[in-house]
């Protein structure tokens, strides 16, 4: 490349930079600076305000480590489950040749459901699948089936995951629909005409094309569950040791209140999000060679 060409490329990039400036300005003002205060706090002693790494040292307590572990576990499970089921639903609505009203109904419903969380959601599930829930009782009274005898319990890991799916699935639906819209009908036709079964088409064509979007959406779901608190708090409040509850206990609670340790936990969460983001970028780079 000659110098002028390089300069031109630079100028083009600079032009685009101006285009993304509002975003970064906004992010700095309303996200990064406020968060920066937090990060600074994570390095401060709660009493003296002096610089310290002790807060991070405290993260290594077994209870905090296990909270991180359980949070990651719950988030990953609900993200994968949500991604899978949400994708299936979105697929059915977008490409399933269903009546036209289904899709707008589903997407608008998903809009609400994806943010339906916290106490109301926990309560809805308790009223449905709790020991005295609607479904539990119906199963018992009508079918003579005791759900809880099977070892099922809403107030456990799987119960929490099942409940999380209530907002994870719709979130997936919403985020992945546009990607499904982007599948061109010619690709499917070309695959069909070459004898591919729908499965083969998905395995080799649609799947790889959608993969980056699906992965991105799954990452979003992961972070969504990872940062969630209200639902877990209301549902399995004191039995499941998830990290957000510890974090909130430190910065909000009536008892503990060591905001600086809370901030350190938050920084830990950011680090985990960053790591999952890196993993995603790496996976995507491997699967996206065909993109401009």
């Amino acid at each position: 490349m000659t110098t002028t060409a390089a300069a031109a490329a630079r100028r083009k990039t600079a032009g685009a930079m101006i285009g993304v400036t509002p975003f970064f300005l906004f992010a700095i003002l309303f996200l990064l600076l406020p968060t920066g205060i937090l990060i600074v706090g994570a390095f401060q002693d709660s009493q003296t305000g002096a610089f310290t790494l002790a807060n991070f040292g405290d993260l290594l307590q077994p209870s905090i480590l296990s909270a991180f572990r359980i949070s990651i576990y719950v988030s990953a499970t609900s993200a994968l489950g949500g991604a899978l089921l949400g994708f299936a639903l979105a697929y059915a609505a977008v490409l399933g040749k269903l009546p036209g009203w289904i899709r707008p109904t589903l997407t608008t419903f998903s809009g609400v459901a994806s943010q339906f969380a916290g106490v109301p959601l926990a309560f809805a599930f308790i009223s449905t699948l709790g020991r005295l829930g609607l479904v539990t009782l119906l199963l018992r009274d009508l079918l003579g089936f005791n759900l809880y005898a099977t070892g099922f319990n809403l107030l456990t890991f799987w119960g929490l995951t099942l409940t999380y799916l209530y907002f994870q699935i719709p979130l997936m639906v919403l985020v992945v629909t546009p990607a499904l819209d982007g599948l061109r009908k010619e690709w499917r036709e070309a695959a069909q005409i070459l004898g591919a079964s729908p499965l083969q088409y998905w395995r080799w064509v649609a799947g790889p094309i959608l993969w980056p979007s699906v992965m991105g959406a799954t990452l979003l779901l992961f972070a969504n569950a990872f940062g969630a608190i209200a639902t877990a708090y209301a549902l399995t409040g004191s039995s499941l040791n998830i990290i957000t509850i510890l974090l909130y206990a430190q910065i909000r609670g009536d008892v503990l209140h060591n905001a600086n340790l809370g901030f350190a936990i938050a920084v830990g969460m950011i680090a985990i999000t960053a790591a999952s983001n890196l993993l995603y970028i790496w996976l995507r780079a491997r699967s996206e060679r065909w993109l401009k």
Binding site: G237, S239, L256
Partner: protein, 340 residues
């Protein structure tokens, strides 16, 4: 109250509170009463906030004179001294200062106890025919899937005190009591009686948590709210009665310091104290009021019998520290569900 203070408060025009749920200790009526009495506006910030939030809100609003900055806070006992040490609150002594027991106030007037209650069993009497009378009753098979706390013992003062209360009987000191309490809950959990949901009026009514361990004043307020649907019984356990004190303070950075002072005067006046009592909270001046016969009998009748309070244990700050340490750390091992 001095006319001067009222005038100064009116000049400020408003008061900003935080973390005052309307169903809590009659705060709803108190706020209304304050507004109508003095014609001030009251901004109510996050009623759902915890004590930690309240402290952080003061810190965050140090330089803010807007309606986001709380003037007054109502926090767990242990937060009083620490907030004072951090310089987040300012001293003020209300007119009735002397009638506040010394054990429940900062000598310099930075913080002062506001009300207390004891931990009780809130029971859905439609489901539970035979209400538990003491902690040990909770372990009975008839309370399978029935007993819940009103908070998470890793985060909520109330829940910590509940664990403590469960182990209090016969324990040598706070640490032993805390450990016994943890053991109790571990057993409760093993017996399948413990429901690890945050107990609320709704879950009580719905039947998911027919027995909730919580402050008696919350339980009694619930009883009124639910108005017989279902019937609620509030039982103070025979043994292991623990009282919890919250404290009141004015933010050092209060944008409306005079309104804040006026609010304190209002709360600590006989009228304010009775307002708390109407919300089933024992105001800190309860004994003073009772001594002077200022409590209407019908109010007293609605409270749990006085003898239930007779041997109530008020944990000291020091004891609270031990509880917090022992219970928050031990909880997961005692009842936490582990994920393989």
């Amino acid at each position: 109250q001095s006319a001067e203070l009222i005038a100064a408060a009116k000049a400020e025009g408003e008061l900003t509170t935080i973390a005052l749920p309307h169903d809590w200790c009659g705060y709803g009526a108190l706020i209304e009463g304050f507004k109508s009495k003095y014609g001030l506006k009251v901004n109510e910030l996050n009623p759902d906030a915890g004590s930690g939030d309240e402290i952080e809100a003061i810190k965050a609003n140090k330089d803010n004179k807007g309606p986001q900055a709380p003037d007054v806070i109502d926090v767990g006992l242990s937060f009083g001294p620490s907030a004072k040490a951090d310089g987040l609150i300012q001293p003020y002594k209300v007119a009735t200062w002397d009638s506040i027991p010394d054990s429940a106030k900062d000598a310099d007037g930075y913080w002062y106890g506001d009300y207390y209650g004891v931990l009780a069993f809130e029971v859905n009497a439609d489901i539970v025919k035979d209400a538990p009378k003491d902690w040990a009753d909770l372990l009975k098979p008839e309370f399978a899937n029935a007993v819940a706390l009103a908070g998470d013992p890793r985060a909520s003062n109330q829940a910590i005190q509940a664990v403590y209360a469960a182990g209090l009987e016969g324990a040598a000191d706070a640490k032993a009591a805390a450990e016994a309490g943890l053991k109790f809950f571990a057993e409760l959990n093993k017996a399948g009686n413990f429901v690890p949901v945050i107990g609320k009026a709704a879950s009580l009514a719905q039947g998911a948590t027919p027995v909730i361990i919580r402050w008696d004043y919350n339980a009694l307020a619930d009883r009124d709210t639910l108005a017989g649907n279902p019937n609620v019984e509030v039982v103070v356990p025979k043994t292991g009665v623990v009282a919890g004190v919250y404290v009141q303070a004015i933010s050092a950075y209060a944008p409306h310091p005079n309104a804040a002072k006026l609010w304190m005067e209002y709360l600590y006046s006989d009228e304010g104290q009775l307002g708390w009592l109407k919300g089933y909270c024992h105001p800190i001046r309860f004994n003073d009021l009772a001594k002077n016969g200022k409590i209407p009998q019908e109010l007293l009748d609605k409270l749990p019998p006085a003898e239930a309070y007779a041997n109530a244990k008020f944990p000291t700050l020091e004891e609270q520290g031990i509880l917090k340490e022992t219970i928050t750390k031990g909880w997961d091992a005692a009842v936490g569900a582990d994920v393989k």
